[in-house]
Amino acid sequence: MIQNDIPDWLKQTQQYTPQKDKNKFIEKTQNGLLRILAKIKMQSEFGGKKIPSPAIALFVLFEMIFLTVLSKNLQFVFLLLGILIVYLAFFPAKMIRNIILEVCSGVTFAFFFSLPAYLMGNHYTMQQLVLKTAVTVCSVAIFTHRIPFYRLSHTLSKTPLSDTILFIFDITLKYLVVLGRICTYMTEALKLRSIGHNRKKQNTAAGILGVTYLKSQAMSKEMYQAMACRGFDGTYQSYGKHKWIINDAALLVAGVLILVVFIVL
């Protein structure tokens, strides 16, 4: 009989305490990716059937930005900000925080930008610039949080934009989520498999991007084949129909009222 003795070195008890390592690079990448994914997910969770028509929302957004930029009356800009604040009060808490953060960063930038004018005695410029920035950034932030990306591409398909551009736009948004998830999984795997102090970890960033690129190549082929099987001839059509809801009417009324107030003030 052959006896397999366990080697002595294997019998020894070892106490391995891995050296502490910083995961800042991975955590930052992961957080960035998760933030984008969470934003997209949050968009689809909020509103559901109550999402207003993206076309009307886009029209009111442009109207608000245009009139804000055009207006020389600060009271009008204040009123617009008031309307946005009231609308914002109906949003979920997390979305409000995100929107306020975006507005704050815009306003801070405008503040420092107009600080020299203020110090030289022109107080009006600062008021105007800060307020107008707050209104425009807030309205755009509300729009992007309220209208999901997929609905936006649907609206753009009704415009005379080229099919190719629309197709690229739509696929980009969709694959942002798919590839974003792959990236998150890979960074998670890297974090779990790396034990102890690992100096080569940062070099793997290129690896993650490389694998993601290869995956995207494979996916694009699969998608093309799937689309060809379904008779895709290069024409990009959107078949979804938007049903008229009360939010659309409210948005339209708001748009008209804003125009009336602009003319009156």
Partner: protein
């Protein structure tokens, strides 16, 4: 009851502000322990109720006006600590955006309306409710509690006004800040609050509480799962009615501007001078001063102010809720 800037000396304002710090700290801790994250929005609704109730000015003989505060109501619905923070937020928005109540006197106003009022009102409410368990026991307790609460707050404000001429004078012996001593300030503040404004607080508290009970069955709002649509409808109705507050012409006692105070008649004599501290005092220009929007009729400006104020208060509490940790509730 909103004390404007320059009526109290900076030293008094600082003392009152410092006195409020532990009250705010304990209230925030208690809210974190007692109120789940998802019900924080109700505190915003409570603050909005308080904000709106303070916009309904009621006239009184002699040309002054006053208003309800709604602090006891929030204390009954969500607890006195929650009421303290809710009324503080309402006062903060009022002073910063609408110039109602001074920026320096913010601590003093909070002490009177966000601390004394809800805590005294709630204490009286619980005591009365304990002894009167009849059909109308709760309504009576709420009404009585709110009446005592608002009068306690008014009394504190009157004392703060009244001690100014005793403590702060210039070389000629003229008062630097509020010129009226305790013998004038206490009766002037208390007559209105013991009668009309106290009654308004009682009616407001009992009516809204009755409505809440009808809608939610449970008076303790922190146990109610969702803020019902009816509550928001009531808020909307109050906003629509706010222009009624404009019917009361005149300024509340102790809330005159520095341009008005010289011509104020008290005990049959006109003051005749502007106290130095008011003449050269701190002057903050609010965004929508006195709830007025230039170029618009007063009632529209008043209503828009009510809408914006309510929205800001709700947004603030929603943002605060995002910083709170999730809590598992086993009692639901």
């Amino acid at each position: 009851m909103h004390i404007p800037d320059n009526y109290l000396s900076p030293a008094t304002c600082a003392v009152m502000g410092v006195a409020m710090i532990p009250a705010w700290k304990v209230s925030i801790q208690k809210i974190r322990q007692e109120i789940p994250k998802e019900k924080m929005a109700f505190l915003g609704v409570g603050a909005a109720f308080s904000f709106l109730s303070m916009m309904f000015n009621i006239p009184l003989a002699g040309g002054t006006t006053g208003h309800a505060v709604g602090g006891t109501l929030i204390a009954i619905l969500a607890g006195p600590y929650a009421a303290c923070i809710s009324v503080t937020m309402a006062l903060f928005i009022q002073c910063l955006m609408f110039g109602d109540g001074g920026v320096l006197a913010f601590g003093a106003n909070c002490f009177n309306m966000a601390f004394v009022l809800p805590f005294v009102g709630y204490f009286v409410y619980t005591q009365v409710k304990r002894y009167w368990k009849g059909k109308y026991g709760e309504q009576f307790a709420a009404g009585f509690g709110s009446y005592i609460g608002i009068n306690a707050a008014a009394f504190c404000a009157a004392v703060e006004f009244g001690i100014q001429p005793l403590l702060f004078k210039n070389g000629a012996g003229n008062p630097l800040y509020c010129p009226y001593p305790l013998s004038v300030s206490i009766p002037a503040m208390m007559i209105g609050h013991l009668t009309v404004f106290g009654a308004a607080e009682v009616v407001y508290t009992v009516a809204v509480l009755g409505f809440m009970k009808k809608v939610n069955k449970d008076t303790n709002y922190t146990k109610v799962k969702h803020t019902s649509k009816a509550v928001y409808a009531l808020l909307a109705a109050l906003i629509v009615c706010t222009p009624l507050g404009l019917l009361a012409a005149g300024t509340a006692w102790g809330e005159w501007g520095s341009d008005e105070i010289a011509s104020v008649v008290s005990k049959g004599s006109t003051l005749g001078f502007i106290p130095e501290g008011m003449k050269h005092g701190f002057n903050y220009r609010a965004l929508f001063s006195d709830y007025v929007i230039a170029g618009m009729p007063a009632w529209i400006g008043y209503m828009i102010s009510a809408i914006i104020g309510t929205a800001i208060v709700i947004i603030l509490f929603k943002i605060i809720s995002t910083f709170m940790k999730n809590k598992v509730e086993f009692d639901l």
